[in-house]
Symmetry: C2
Subunit: 261 residues, 2 copies
Amino acid sequence: MHCELNKERPLILIVNDDGFEAKGLAAMVELAKPLGEIVVVVPDRTRSGMGHAITMNEPLRLMNYKNEDGIAYYRTNGTPVDCVKLGEKVVLRDRKIDLVLSGINHGSNSSVSLIYSGTMAAAIEATFDNIPAIGLSVQDYSANADFTAAMHYGRPIVEKVLEKGLPPYTCLNINVPKVSMEEIKGVKVTRQCHGVWHEDLEEHTDPFGRKYYWLAGHLERHELSDDTCEGVLQNNYISVQPVQFDMTAHQYIEKLKFLEQ
Amino acid sequence: MHCELNKERPLILIVNDDGFEAKGLAAMVELAKPLGEIVVVVPDRTRSGMGHAITMNEPLRLMNYKNEDGIAYYRTNGTPVDCVKLGEKVVLRDRKIDLVLSGINHGSNSSVSLIYSGTMAAAIEATFDNIPAIGLSVQDYSANADFTAAMHYGRPIVEKVLEKGLPPYTCLNINVPKVSMEEIKGVKVTRQCHGVWHEDLEEHTDPFGRKYYWLAGHLERHELSDDTCEGVLQNNYISVQPVQFDMTAHQYIEKLKFLEQ
């Protein structure tokens, strides 16, 4: 399975975590269509909250389920990160991918949600191979979320990234507030704010008397200053956070030398 | 389901990603047994490479499958990160957890493997609630890996962390080289080295003529200097990396202001 495409325009791989039927995928394709050659590799079902999971203990399937307007669409039983690996190593093997776009995600990936997010994990996966990548999300989890503002403000950002690139091993985490186009005040470059998900783990009982739990909760946000993702989102700005994958707490290396033996 | 325990000793939650039958889990319990009250919450099967995945689209089950030597053992259909959430919010609800230990993992979690790792994701999850946490891994994927050195060098680190704590919102990623106890030269505090997994995505064909892929590969390591995880591991030192969850590329915020609108 190996896709031959026009080599004259930027090659854009689109992935997501909401699966091949998501409205947000169609919106991302619309956003990107004028900007380059597009190939889509997405999960065959919703894979939200998959973080950086990969599929190691079962085989990966890959199906070319549609070809439309010169765009080849593939779906897989794999995770969002697997979509990037399959895109790079199978579908577009031997071709240089110019940009990975992930989303448009139904739901916010600001603050620590970034770390749970399959959308952002796919973007981060691309940066391991130094491919510029953008994750684009709206603060609306509903299946019928409105992507008008995300497309309107997202396209010029994608165009600038295609023109100027991104710093090495860096991707962007773009989050769009859930307000009308008219209420959006602009786009700010931000840092990740501190936050924590408070879970309820709702207890239920099945018809056989056995307990089970639903994981649900809400994000408690800290650091709502005007340089953070959540800080600008609450003021109706779009947040653009540069993301990298070194998770070292550099500031504490010296302090922890007492652990050396 | 709510566990009552002795409140006079440190309360340690042990999780892993290799599941309840893993030899590494038994080794971690042995390591921690003299140091506090222990509760175990682990997956009901191997959940390696799960990253920070959580279970949102199906119910979570939790079973108290064993009580032995004063230790309560629970297993779940959830991910390693779910184990921490279930431990905190269900099994030990209303109790203060003093330390989360994750592992001992069969396989290295150095370099970017940290980001794919369920073991380390569980440790990072604990830091969201500012609970000190340690992920402990050996560079040996085999089911029968030797945990002697990990236990020998790991226990004093756990003791020091119980005594002095860790910096706020920080966990440790400890990796032990695959050499005999005698060959280990000591313990170094390190930073995450740059690296990338090169995947093969081996193509096979099933009896029905359909292709499928196995995700396999090897880690290409960069930055083998003596201050990085892989740098010290190749010289037979144990690597202790402090880990935090802010993934912002702070160094590029100013440079990317041209994306503002």
